[in-house]
Symmetry: none
Subunit: 124 residues, 4 copies
DNA sequence: GTGGTCTAGACCACG
DNA sequence: GTGGTCTAGACCACG
């Protein structure tokens, strides 16, 4: 299920993007699965359908989902997402965030354990 | 030195924030160093001084710099930044970015090496 | 044989149009050949027969096929297609696409070779 | 100048996309040039600003233009467009269109001359 | 003044 | 019923 945090400074469509992407990354949504329709999600969150459209189009541009005329949106595969991904930007973000954590005194072990967890979980 | 990329989708004050923070994380600016004055930086980048003020206020809120009335802005220490840091948000960003890299097929070794590099560099 | 790509952003009837036209251009279907009946193709693709009808009507308008009451649809000749073709629109599309390829750095030789290939293949 | 053709079956935002792209391909707009603001173009065409936004965002995704917060949209360079281009799709379109022209009886010389013209013009 | 986000709601094509 | 397009208009951040 998807919920919004109105205290979050990010825009609504960004939050929806991240939530749906998270469900895909976690494997809660698998390749070929249909995701909630634009209207369904809009009414369930009581926001405007156009805002959902914007989030879904963003995810479509990133290769995470695709639309089928008159049917709905479906989860695309890893290959599709990898093809459209901007690895440069992702690594920049990763490096900046990890550098900041390091500077602020985070132990390397803490981060290494997080990395281990992520790669272990994903292989399931 | 700081330069701007007008094609960057981030706002100017955000870019300045990130650039100054990066100089601090890299050790190019050390605790107690005076950073460029608002006027200096504004004229060197030919942008509005208010934009610099906004960036510096942001970094001050994050504990990375502090102002001395009539003297300018100075680099604060790690403890100051660590006290004001939102570790929850930083770890969320790190986890989300690394999860995405993992999903997209990045080898764990690549990331582990990046972590090693960052922690090694920083200890200097 | 005709297959559909549900990830294709084009509508189903457009995909069918393009696939059948391609078979004709390639010579896999020749003048006078009977093409698959609406019912046959609909059940083989498990889609609504009306969608096939729409595609066939479109190809009929373009002069690529013609229907014989109670017999089915047949491939028309080049003259028929040439008579109904909108050369202006085709040249506009060709010019726009080639201009974009040129702008993006494609070598002229690459395109000239493609043109050679197409005209050589077609003369068979 | 940009004008709309309401008889054109393409959507308004697509027409705007193509018109602006054409100006860039022709060299009427060069790298770094500011293009008409969203509001300016919307009022000059008497259409809704959101429709312009949609067209501009599409061109931004294709790397042809970029936005600067509070300043407007500017023409990006060839490299930017080439980086984001889907050459596979462009060549597919080119091949399909040229194959159709060939089938319909167009002389190879006519096409070769068009190719020559495009590559000659662009080098200016 | 500029682009960015969002609402409210209409009408369309597709199947 | 689904997504796609478009209008009309509001309010925001940025500089």
């Amino acid at each position: 299920m998807i919920s919004l945090d109105f205290r979050d400074s990010r825009s609504i469509y960004e939050q929806i993007c991240d939530k749906v992407k998270k469900l895909i990354l976690e494997g809660a949504l698998s390749e070929g699965d249909k995701i909630m329709s634009v209207r369904e999600l809009a009414s369930s969150l009581t926001i405007n359908p156009n805002t959902i459209v914007k989030a879904y189009k963003q995810l479509e541009n990133e290769g995470y989902i695709y639309s089928v005329q008159g049917k709905g949106y479906f989860v695309a595969g890893r290959k599709s997402a990898a093809k459209d991904a901007d690895f440069g930007a992702l690594f920049d973000t990763a490096r900046a965030t990890l550098s900041e954590l390091c500077f602020l005194g985070t132990e390397k072990d803490t981060v290494t354990r997080m990395v281990d967890d992520i790669w272990k979980e994903m292989k399931r």
